[in-house]
């Protein structure tokens, strides 16, 4: 699988997920600025 790492200055890739508190999170509508932290394995 060939993935493209986004660069500073580019539009953030959009996404929509349901958070574990039940909130619908759609990046395009989400309050900003927002930091995104992608975890590795939980531990």
């Amino acid at each position: 699988m060939r993935l493209t790492f986004p660069r500073v200055g580019e539009p953030a890739p959009d996404f929509a997920l349901i958070a574990i508190d039940g909130a619908h999170v759609h990046l395009a509508d989400y309050p900003k600025p927002v930091a995104l932290v992608f975890l590795r394995h939980l531990g």
Binding site: P6, A12, P33, A35, L36, V37, H41
Partner: protein
Amino acid sequence: MRLPTVMNALTAYDAQLLVFSFATEERLRQWLPFFHRQFLEPAYAERGLALPPDPFERMRFLADPSRAVYHAYGLGRNAVWRVYGPRILWQYARWGVQGKPIQINDDALQRGGDFVVGRDGRLTLTHTGRDQSDRPSPQQIIEALG
């Protein structure tokens, strides 16, 4: 990520934090109290800071087991030699000495990353580390939020 410093910056810039895991929602829910107890509380205690009443106030946790969002942000799998290289083994050793449990129940090769989305929807920070110990500094995150 130095949590207390970053959390203060979130408040200062009226910013939010979204935390993604590729674990299932159930597993992520189970992990949160563990994270609070084993990492968040000690991080504040080490700095002599009181834990905020709601340390997760500006945070939301999202499960992405399909890794669709991980992949949208270019986060694939790491090479084995990067995951188990000297730097991360040293970090595991430090955690072991500090009494922090080391549990690896998931895909240890999945890459993590840190991004900041500015008010205009464009990225102001992009970072994927060489290994688990390689995360942006609090100063880099603060500058990206501002």
